[in-house]
Symmetry: C2
Subunit: 283 residues, 2 copies
Amino acid sequence: MTTAGTLETVSENCSHGGVQGVYRHASASTGTQMTFSVFVPPHADGAKLPVLWFLSGLTCTQANVTEKGEFRAACAEHGVIFVAPDTSPRGEDVPDDEAYDFGQGAGFYVDATQAPWAQHFQMRSYIERELPALLAEHFPADMQRQAISGHSMGGHGALTIGLRNPDRFRSISAFSPIVSPLNCPWGDKALGGYLGDNRSDWREYDACALIEDGARHANLLVDQGTADNFLEEQLRTELLVDACKSAGMPAEIRMQPGYDHSYYFISTFMAEHVGWHARHLQG
Amino acid sequence: MTTAGTLETVSENCSHGGVQGVYRHASASTGTQMTFSVFVPPHADGAKLPVLWFLSGLTCTQANVTEKGEFRAACAEHGVIFVAPDTSPRGEDVPDDEAYDFGQGAGFYVDATQAPWAQHFQMRSYIERELPALLAEHFPADMQRQAISGHSMGGHGALTIGLRNPDRFRSISAFSPIVSPLNCPWGDKALGGYLGDNRSDWREYDACALIEDGARHANLLVDQGTADNFLEEQLRTELLVDACKSAGMPAEIRMQPGYDHSYYFISTFMAEHVGWHARHLQG
């Protein structure tokens, strides 16, 4: 593929028998150019493969997990397409904030309603609607078999998008996710900025609130390092444990001793997550 | 470990059940601070583990393979320590060249004899003598069981250091190595600059010349991508094939269809290289 429709190929590299690509397109949702990566594992001509989405964390682009995530061997083994979007709109014309946890690189997977953010920061629509359509058009993706994962802010994205769309995503996993933006400083700042002061508007962007409000998913896996500097104040895994318990929703939430917030942690458990999703994506 | 003797810990992260560390020390060989990374897999208290060296290519530091190499899962599985040194001395007081293929980031694993390089560019001594002693002192390394690998310029390093020290390294592998600096532009420039015009002085830094001059190793594995932009002019794998054939030296030299010079290639075959070395490192 070089340029198919509105999709521009930034790079394609052979890897693990498949192709790791990076692509760019003009997004209607964000009104900007958006970049994402797709790994297509080796497959028979004409075959359609299940899709695992991976949403990244604060400050990341699609490149971090693409370079450091160590997902390709497992995706090749299980025949799973791996999609990594960017974490926000970007560009000189896009509003930004000096801090790392708001504005560019920190879209929080919401559709912003507040000026000046609402014009471009429409990451929920981008991830839930626009990018899936593009993927279905340009890649050998079986959109009937999707799963979603993510890290930190992207773990929040995976949990909330998965819980809002349980029929689309057969399984949800997360690495060190922000489980409740309503109850941490990162969430206060970002959702307040993007959505305004009415905190009831935040609930559809809060995994714990979604579960409290009735959302359910049968297949949920979370890994959280105990040496993660953000655990106590920002991530607060215990709130998700409590929400699942109160709702009687089964979930595998594992505390991993000694692991921190980095890709050294993510890559350790990535192959297991891919394999776990692959089992749910079969058939 | 925080600071043991002259070794400073830059970072340590839990990964794949072991510890991925980055360390810094004052090098007597180069007269500079040198940084390297070590992955120590999970192991029994008091156990000594075999060591796999990985030498990196032009422009790289220890960080490239440490972040993108995808070696930790295999090293954890096989119980192998993985050591990644930097590719040259660095610093404001260290001579440099504007080009990417000479000076800092391009030490070529030689002991330079020419001014102004000779003062700091002593990478052969650093890799062959100083760093092994440091490793033996500070890590649970069984120095009776060592193997060596590398990429591009580091593949050249692995081949030449391994061929010069067949009793120390039980196995040698390389990804897209420069097989003959005597016969490529990168080699002409670097060895001419570091060693001077007498090309007979270059032969101990040329894998093909070493084999022509009698060096042998029983366990040699090379992977080379056919879509590698540097293959034809710089890497010239065919010269190593010819040298091994002429010498009657068995070697597994594999051309990998469609792969390029990047870490997407290296990471594809890294686990296989680690497993291959591990078999030679047993017992």
